[in-house]
């Protein structure tokens, strides 16, 4: 059975945007339990990290929320609406930038709009604005193959923001990048999501990264995938990399490590 999940006092006051009750997912007709009995709420505008080793169901949970796969049991709502398939309340970002290589950066950013309706002049202005926000003002007409891995993920982030979705689902978005690029992008990501006021779910297997970025950390354990605990991160924003050197921060790291280690 799933362990009870702590609800933080800070997020309890804010509006709930995602709510899961006993969410479960099995593959192969029940042969593989990817996720079992997950209970959680995500508050509006909060940054939630999902951390845990491979096979703990964090990517599965993200895909369930996106409606890309169907849950096997429990209830799962976004903005109080039941999830039955892919929906536009959420935007996704993957470990690979998944840009269309025949489109320039700005045309990639406009893709979500093109799929919904015809592109207006205002959409184009917004796309240019978003590229500037992720620091790629001068690369609007570069093709993905002309950009570095970090820059490609910046384009993917701009595209994610262009969807206008207020919930951002990020599946190890910077996992394939080098340490330095990743740290820089994490800092920018925090700035950008607070700027646009989005609710963010961020999958990672890096405990430090998970805590540094988040208001809440969903600690998940494998075989079967379970949501073990929800850990509240109390540090004020904006945060700087020096935070990771403080004893308070390291106490939290130890706490998460402990939860992961005892399972």
């Amino acid at each position: 059975m799933a362990k009870p999940v702590e609800n933080s006092t800070a997020s309890a006051q804010a509006k709930t945007v995602i709510e899961g009750r006993d969410v479960g997912k099995t593959f192969g007709g029940g042969a593989v339990i990817a996720l079992e009995g997950a209970n959680f709420t995500v508050a509006e505008g909060s940054f939630v990290s999902l951390v845990g080793p491979s096979g703990c169901g964090k990517s599965t949970l993200l895909r369930l929320i996106a409606g890309l796969i169907d849950r096997t049991s429990g209830s799962l709502t976004v903005h109080g609406r039941d999830i039955t398939g892919p929906h536009t309340d959420v935007g996704m970002m993957f470990q690979r930038a998944t840009l269309l290589e025949w489109r320039t950066a700005i045309e990639n950013v406009l893709l979500p709009i093109e799929i919904q309706r015809s592109v207006t002049s205002a959409d184009k202005a917004r796309a240019a604005e978003l590229l500037a926000m992720v620091g790629l003002k001068d690369f609007a007409f570069s093709f993905p193959s002309q950009l570095s891995g970090g820059m490609q993920q910046r384009v993917a982030l701009a595209r994610l923001l262009q969807t206008g979705a207020d919930i951002l689902l990020m599946d190890e978005p910077f996992g394939a990048l080098d340490e330095f690029t990743r740290e820089r992008l994490n800092l920018e990501l925090m700035r950008i999501v607070s700027e646009v006021g989005a609710t963010t779910l961020f999958v990672t297997h890096n405990i430090l990264e998970a805590i540094f970025l988040a208001d809440e950390v969903m600690v998940m354990t494998p075989r079967p995938g379970r949501l073990a605990r929800m850990v509240h991160v109390p540090f004020a924003r904006p945060r700087t990399p020096e935070l990771t050197l403080t004893p308070e921060f390291n106490a939290l790291v130890a706490e998460v490590r402990d939860i992961l280690g005892t399972h």
């Binding site: 935007g91 998944t98 799929i115 002049s121 240019a128 007409f141």
Partner: protein, 285 residues
């Protein structure tokens, strides 16, 4: 940087001289061998005789033009029809897993069968004339685009596919905005193969039917033991084959522009200009 690339990819002048010398030596010894009777003149006519034939069939008699026109017309018709059919069916079959499963055995069987073997049957069914010739060319042109489109569609990038789904794209949108563009380079490779096959296809069709066209012309010349003229026809086909190859290469560079550096720069600049003209530049952003 551009100059560097050019400098390394262009052969050096010294090498060109060597190439030319070898070529000239080859032609001259061939000429000499033919003149001195070391080579059987019947099967290896002297280069000078071939050159004379070129003059005759292209200028003084000028009879090759008609046959070229006929053959290339057939190639164009058969290639266009065959490759459109191949790409279209490849896309439909690739997008639909059920259709694919039940069609696959037949595709494998048909692919293993030499297409040319079916040519006499096609003539029997469609009769002599342009229709059966075009059908033969269609048949040899169909498979490469079909198989390549199919594999391009099946091997679409999983993550990109998932992205399109998460953006709420319809099946048609996924096909138009992701699957087909992503398959373009591999489809173009199939088209290149198809066009080369089309040239062989038209020759086979004309060898069988023996009425008109460059294939028939070659057949007539060899039967009359006019090998010099037959060689002139064959070298004409060599040139056409080479032009097709180069032409398709250029077309490929243009259509799959994101696969080459020059294409990226050209299209990127073009789109930036179009954007600037429409949006008044990015200055406001």
């Amino acid at each position: 940087m551009t100059d560097n690339v050019k400098a390394t990819s262009q052969p050096k002048t010294g090498q060109m001289v060597i190439h030319f010398t070898i070529f000239l030596a080859l032609i001259l010894s061939w000429e000499l061998g033919a003149q001195m009777g070391w080579l059987d003149k019947l099967f290896f006519p002297a280069p000078s005789a071939i050159l004379t034939s070129f003059w005759r069939i292209y200028v003084s008699q000028g009879n090759i033009w008609f046959h070229l026109y006929i053959s290339l017309g057939l190639v164009f018709a058969g290639f266009t029809a065959g490759s459109i059919l191949g790409v279209g069916l490849g896309a439909v079959v690739g997008m639909n897993a059920t259709v694919r499963r039940f069609l696959q055995p037949y595709v494998i069987v048909l692919e293993a069968t030499p297409r040319i073997a079916v040519a006499p049957l096609l003539i029997a069914a469609l009769g002599f004339g342009a229709t059966s010739k075009i059908a033969i060319i269609m048949l040899v042109c169909f498979f490469a685009p079909f198989i390549n489109t199919l594999s391009g569609v099946i091997n679409v990038d999983r993550d990109r596919f998932e992205l399109m789904r998460s953006l709420g794209a319809s099946k048609i949108q996924v096909l138009r905005k992701l699957v087909l563009p992503e398959a373009v380079p591999v489809i173009m490779a199939g088209e290149r193969l198809a066009l080369t096959s089309a040239l062989s296809g038209v020759l086979v069709a004309e060898f069988i039917q023996r009425d008109q066209g460059i294939g028939t012309l070659i057949l007539t010349y060899t039967r009359n033991l006019n090998m010099a003229s037959a060689f002139a026809c064959i070298f004409t086909l060599t040139l056409i084959g080479f032009l097709i190859f180069k032409g398709m290469e250029r077309l490929d560079h243009r259509i799959a522009y994101w696969k080459n550096e020059a294409g990226l720069r050209r299209v990127g600049a073009k789109r930036a200009r179009a954007w600037a003209a429409e949006q008044g530049g990015l200055a406001r952003a």
